[in-house]
Subunit: 234 residues, 2 copies
Amino acid sequence: MQKYTNAKKVLVATDCIIFGFDGWNLKLLLVQRNIEPEIGRWSLMGGFMEPDESPDAAANRVLEQRTGLKNVYMDQLRVFGNPDRDPVERALSIAYFALIDIHQYEKQLSDEYHAEWFLLDEVPELIFDHNEMLKLAHKQLMYKAALHPILFQLLPEKFTIPQLQALYEGVFETKFDDRNFSRKLLSTGLLVKLNEKDKQSSKKGAFYYTLDKSHYIKNFNAFLNLVPNPDKFF
Amino acid sequence: MQKYTNAKKVLVATDCIIFGFDGWNLKLLLVQRNIEPEIGRWSLMGGFMEPDESPDAAANRVLEQRTGLKNVYMDQLRVFGNPDRDPVERALSIAYFALIDIHQYEKQLSDEYHAEWFLLDEVPELIFDHNEMLKLAHKQLMYKAALHPILFQLLPEKFTIPQLQALYEGVFETKFDDRNFSRKLLSTGLLVKLNEKDKQSSKKGAFYYTLDKSHYIKNFNAFLNLVPNPDKFF
DNA sequence: CCAAAAGTGTTTCCGATACACCCATGT
DNA sequence: ACATGGGTGTATCGGAAACACTTTTGG
């Protein structure tokens, strides 16, 4: 069969903006670039797509190779394709953002992969257009988290309401009213209370909760304002 | 400077899902494919990206070449990259969706470009993964339209509230309560009432409105449910 | 006993819904 | 005059926000 002979090919990479939560602050995982140019500068986790794999597969493969992480929550952000975004050679990048539980991988990431967590407002100058990617990813994270319960991906299996609130406050960079926050979250039907308390952060201790996964899928879509009965559509 | 020698390139295309509104129904613009294979089958507006242009520029250029349309509302949807999505050759496609005012281009499109409008529920079998793209685009359109006033892009400069309501009903495939709908839309502060009536559709006639563009930008973001004062974030 | 954090209760307000009715006008 | 669609009014309900208080327990 004939091919599209007069069309020109380009390199395609994937870059991944990896968010984590340490219990107090939202953080970003970065590595130091190991090839020229810009070797040693901080960078998102990136790599090239193989022609025989899908972008999603490529993003997952690159993520695993560079961090050991598997089966994490990932979302395609968008394509970055400014013609001069990569000074070496024309290359598109398909940006993804990922949400992981920091503690589950902390040692492995720093020891084996020399990746480092940064506070969002202490992120250094990154290579290429990675700062722009990060900015968009954070915006998208806020946007999506305001509509869907995705932030649970950043927490361990068991978590307390105050932890959850700290997470939301970190992501949205605001304070929430404690009493309204807990009631609002509990009213979603997504949380299951455990008979166990976390005594780390206070004398009284806060009850642990887990996510009710059946409700998670059912309640993933909710509350769009304009349309009556929005559940129907999504 | 050295290049990324061991990375393999791929073809990158853009495809555009073009929505229009004829006053009653939401419609989709399609063309018949003019190259082998699948010649003659219905297809979205697509074309290959040149290496020296950005994806957005490519999508706009392709759109103009195939329809004559310029300066229309366009949004990147996502990359479609299943390895076997194009049987001819490995190719990614960056999907966009566009919103246009049907009447402004009706003749031009059919006469010069042989493009045709289809009702959404009468869309034929399309080439490749274009049906899947359409499905996602429609979902995305509903999603975004529920949160932002983008549907005005589908209407002419002057429009009536009943027209606007028909549009929303078309996009969401539901009926809205007339009285609540007009009040809700008027309360956004986006509409400017004109001293002129459209007498086409009724004896009484319905007042024309235009979009207040200053408010449009200011009110583009609104009303995300979980977060207090969401305006701040977007 | 007290400080510090967790958790529950109450009031107010606004927007969403569900209704019924009046208005303008071409036939 | 009347049918047809356009437009406004109103009562009700529920969720969001603002605020105060009680509970628990380690020191």
